[in-house]
């Protein structure tokens, strides 16, 4: 471990705030790139479910393209 104490690890010789701010942005971008596709997927599954529910209700044969 490069730093001798955990407090020193947080302070990082005065540059700690910048380093941790940068890594916070990094974490935010990663999380956004995980949450956004999950919400999109839920929306897609929802619209597919609604589509098939209507298709079954009118019991048309599903058109295959």
């Amino acid at each position: 471990m490069y730093f001798d104490s955990f407090a020193d690890f947080i302070a990082m010789g005065g540059h700690g705030t910048f380093v941790w701010m940068a890594y916070a942005c990094f974490l935010m971008v990663i999380i956004w790139n995980l949450i956004s596709p999950v919400m999109r997927r839920r929306q897609v599954l929802e619209s597919a479910r609604r589509y098939w529910r209507r298709a079954d209700a009118e019991n048309q044969p599903p058109s295959v393209d």
Binding site: E46, R50, R54, A57
Partner: protein, 246 residues
Amino acid sequence: MGNSSAALAAPCAPVRAGDPLLDARGITCERGDKLLFDRYDLSVKSGEIVQLAGPNGAGKTTLLRSICGMFDAEIDTLIWRGIELSSPLEYADELLYLGHMAAIRPHLTLWENLSWYTCLSQCSDMSKLPAVVAEVGLSGYELELASSLSAGQKRRIALARLKLVDCRMWILDEPFASLDSAGVEMLCGWIQDFVQRGGSVVYSTHQPVDFANCESRTLDIDQKPWGYNSESSSGSKGESFSEPAR
């Protein structure tokens, strides 16, 4: 102006069929340089269907819009349920106007469109919403965006408002446009039982329908656009050329 209707009785009070609802005398409309109507009279009794037939550009839409306050027509006298009013907007909350465009917001879902309409007028309640949507035949589409629906389905959403809001008079501008045969049947059934319950319907159409068991009248609007017009009484035709009196 504005749509205060304090002078009138509660808008959704029931009424006997037959007594006069609207009596508009001396309607004069000009659109561009065409004089569409010159002192035209229109009277509608409650429990009656008035169909406006006529060629395109004869002024059917303009007449409908002027009696519901959407067109700046000069009306000499306007009597609504026996009370003289200055502008049609004053009885706006007792009538339902479905324009040529299906007034649907493409970016909202069907459910949001209809619940927005219910929150616009007092005498309509949200509880009837699911039943009305099912009756209109769009039961699976509540959460679909209106932009993804077809023109006929949008027209059905607009018609669903007829069931949501109970009022005295329906003014419909070519309601059968872009409706399939089932839709036309459904709408005719609705019109009949609305009229039997004492409401009155004025609508413009290209294929007049004869309603069996209720009182219906067809007005033939074929005013010549360049100023020849009939006598002031509604419906009859004459060739007398008269200066559009102001």
